[in-house]
């Protein structure tokens, strides 16, 4: 029997899925092993959870044991000469960059928020707005220590154990957990990036600008107005950001300090950041978001600031500008539907997706467009192509309609040879998962699962839904 006082109600980051679970927060590998034994002895499964920043059900395990890694958050070794750092899995992206930036090092790949843990980002093999040239986070990890269900720890190097490395990274907590992670950071010569804003008046222009800018961009991201129709369908604001070379920034010692990176405490100088979600609430509906999207587009068109310097954190962690922004979506939460489409079909598929959403009257309140490249991870989400991430507000009334819409969107993605991303997913079906992963990769994956977790101890709500 498990102690009732460990019961907690956990949510996926999107807030649309929740689960009660018995939560264990080990601070050492020894305690981690004990929690695994407890699960085995009491006949419960184990779900690994970092900061709980996956949108869907990837870190949830109903009425079973959830191991939360947030206390295993020590930085174990740091070499400011080589930029190589070794951390426990509960170290967050925020902890990481705040620790290293003054030495002139920045995480080579970061998601849109700084709160995920390294264990989490590696389990999902996350990407950022620089995926097309930096790849996923896994490509910057040199080695990690890994704990399997037996309690045995393995050292896995990217070069020395290439097959195993590329199978474990991105395996969404199914094979075991990381106990320490060593990665190489990116050398930066300024705390600022050179940011340039472009405007695309429709989807085709968006692709044109991306193809034109990609060769000389470090980061590139498009914000699509999902409400624009007809000839303006897919109109977007594009942000390009480039690192500054050595000597360009006259005061690097100043810009490379944490206070320079910090996001402003107030928005528009008046509204405290922690309150902004409240002000957004009236806008998270059809009319409101149509207004916001239109305003965003036109302010970029007529705005005076087309090129400027912006701190790394301010550019990278846009989601963190508004703490608890998801609360503005109301109690039903949100789902983010992100699909990755090979470049030859991307424009057509995204056009169809946007049109389908409009036709079904389920318009995404936020739509983000990015360029990706292929990689050699077994359970990869990446393709040589583009991705479109669509944020949908979930309400009691639209829930079943929304889930039905995602099935129709899935059909478009699969027929274009596209892929999906476990960090975001909340709606995928078993059939769609099998179809995009492919029988061969799935077979290899399930063999590894039998090897590292023969009793099937490691499960999540996501794995129960898809595997």
């Amino acid at each position: 029997m498990l102690p009732v006082e460990r019961l907690e109600r956990l949510k996926g980051w999107g807030g649309a899925v929740d689960a009660t679970a018995y939560v264990y927060r080990p601070s050492t590998v020894e305690q981690l092993r004990e929690a695994i034994s407890t699960a085995r002895e009491t006949g419960h499964t184990i779900t690994f959870r970092g900061a709980g920043r996956s949108y869907g059900d990837a870190s949830l395990g109903r009425e079973n044991i959830v191991i939360d890694f947030t206390r295993m958050n020590r930085i174990l070794a740091w070499d400011p000469k080589s930029g190589i750092i070794t951390c426990e899995p509960g170290v967050t992206i925020k902890q990481l960059w705040e620790y290293t930036i003054e030495d002139g090092w920045w995480p080579p790949v970061v998601p849109g928020t700084m709160f995920p843990t390294l264990g989490g980002v590696l389990a999902m093999n996350i990407h950022g707005k620089n995926n097309f040239n930096a790849g996923t986070i896994g490509e910057h990890v040199c080695a990690f220590e890994f704990l399997a269900a037996s309690g045995a720890e393995f050292h896995v190097g990217r070069e020395t154990d290439a097959d195993l490395f590329h199978s474990i990274v991105g395996s969404f907590g199914m094979l075991g957990c990381f106990t320490s992670i060593t990665l190489k950071l990116k050398k930066v010569y300024s705390g600022d990036l050179d940011v340039k804003v472009f405007v695309a008046k429709n989807l085709h222009k968006l692709f044109e600008i991306f193809y034109r800018e990609l060769p000389h961009s470090d980061y590139l991201v498009g914000w699509i107005d999902g409400f624009a129709r007809g000839s303006g369908l897919g109109r977007a604001v594009i942000h390009r950001a480039n690192y500054l070379g050595p000597g360009v920034d006259p005061t690097p010692a100043k810009t490379l300090r944490v206070p320079h990176q910090n996001l402003p405490e107030t928005i528009a100088g008046i509204v405290p950041k922690s309150m902004v979600w409240l002000f957004l609430r009236p806008f998270t509906n059809r009319l409101g978001m149509a207004v916001v999207n239109t305003a965003k587009y036109w302010s970029a068109v007529i705005g005076p600031r087309k090129q400027f310097r912006q701190a790394h954190a301010a550019f990278a962690f846009l989601l963190d500008y508004v703490p608890d922004w998801k609360k503005s979506y109301g109690s039903g939460g949100l789902v983010q539907y992100q699909s990755f489409i090979p470049q030859e079909h991307a424009e057509e598929t995204f056009r169809q997706q946007l049109e389908l959403c409009q036709k079904e009257d389920l318009v995404p309140l936020l739509a983000v467009f990015k360029r990706h490249r292929q990689d050699s991870f077994l359970m990869t989400h990446a393709v040589d192509g583009f991705s479109l991430a669509l944020d949908f507000k979930v309400t009691e009334e639209n829930r079943s309609k929304l889930w039905a819409l995602t099935e129709r969107l899935n059909a478009l993605v699969l027929s274009a040879g596209g892929r999906f991303y476990m960090a975001k997913d909340a709606t995928l079906t078993r059939e769609a998962f099998r179809s995009f992963i492919g029988e061969k990769a799935l077979h290899t994956f399930l063999e590894l699962k039998r090897r590292f977790d023969p009793q099937g101890l490691f499960e999540t709500e996501l794995s129960r839904r898809l595997l």
Binding site: L7, E8, R9, A19, R62, E63, N64
Partner: protein, 206 residues
């Protein structure tokens, strides 16, 4: 019950005697197993209850004990588990099926009335303890419902089917009503009954 389990893939049947609460945490163990199998718990309804036939001059401790153990102590054993859990996770609904029979100490069945009065009071305490955690506790006070317990008994009126009663109970659970009389007109009747002074009540044929 077993038919229900066969019919739908989301129904589970467990056999347990609610009077079996002395064992070493058996209730807690089964409770955890059930919540595990269900993948969570949003609503629990305590519907166990007996009303053994006793005549006006009968004082039978075994029957009374069975009544109190089934209707009250079993409820406390099971709903304590639910209360602990719901307080911990800040949510959930507890429904207890008490009875209008607990409102006054009638001549007919002293232990039954006492068990229901005790149960109603226990549920009210739970409600007062747990409302601050977002947990809802609903006391159901049915009148006469057409079940094996009442079948063939004299003096029944306003009889409703178990199906209708279930519908009312679920509705009350969804609304989170504090106390729901089923059907609602019993609220008026018991309100009047409670106003009758004891020295008159003892002479009434109820």
């Amino acid at each position: 019950m077993e038919e229900l389990a066969r019919d739908t893939s989301r129904a589970f049947v467990y056999e347990a005697d609610v009077r079996n609460f002395d064992g070493n945490g058996e209730v807690a163990l089964l409770f955890q197993r059930i919540t595990h199998d269900l993948g969570g718990l949003d609503l629990i309804i305590y519907a166990a209850g007996i009303l053994p036939a006793i005549d006006e001059h009968e004082y039978n401790f075994e029957k009374d004990r069975a009544t109190l153990e089934t209707n009250l102590l079993g409820a406390v054993a099971w709903l304590n588990e639910a209360a602990t859990r719901f307080e911990q996770v800040h949510g959930g609904t507890i429904v207890g099926i008490s009875s209008v029979a607990g409102e006054r100490g009638r001549r007919g069945s002293p232990a039954y009335g006492a068990s229901k009065a005790g149960f109603s009071s226990y549920l009210e305490s739970l409600r007062n303890r747990l409302s601050r955690y977002g947990v809802r506790v609903v006391t159901i006070k049915p009148g006469f419902i057409d079940t094996e317990m009442t079948r063939g008994k004299p003096g029944l009126f306003w009889l409703i089917s178990a199906q209708d009663a279930a519908t009312y109970i679920l509705r009350a659970a969804e609304r989170g009503t504090g106390t729901a009389y089923i059907p609602a007109r019993w609220r008026l009747v018991t309100g009047l009954l409670k106003m009758i002074p004891s020295f008159i009540f003892r002479h009434l044929p109820v």
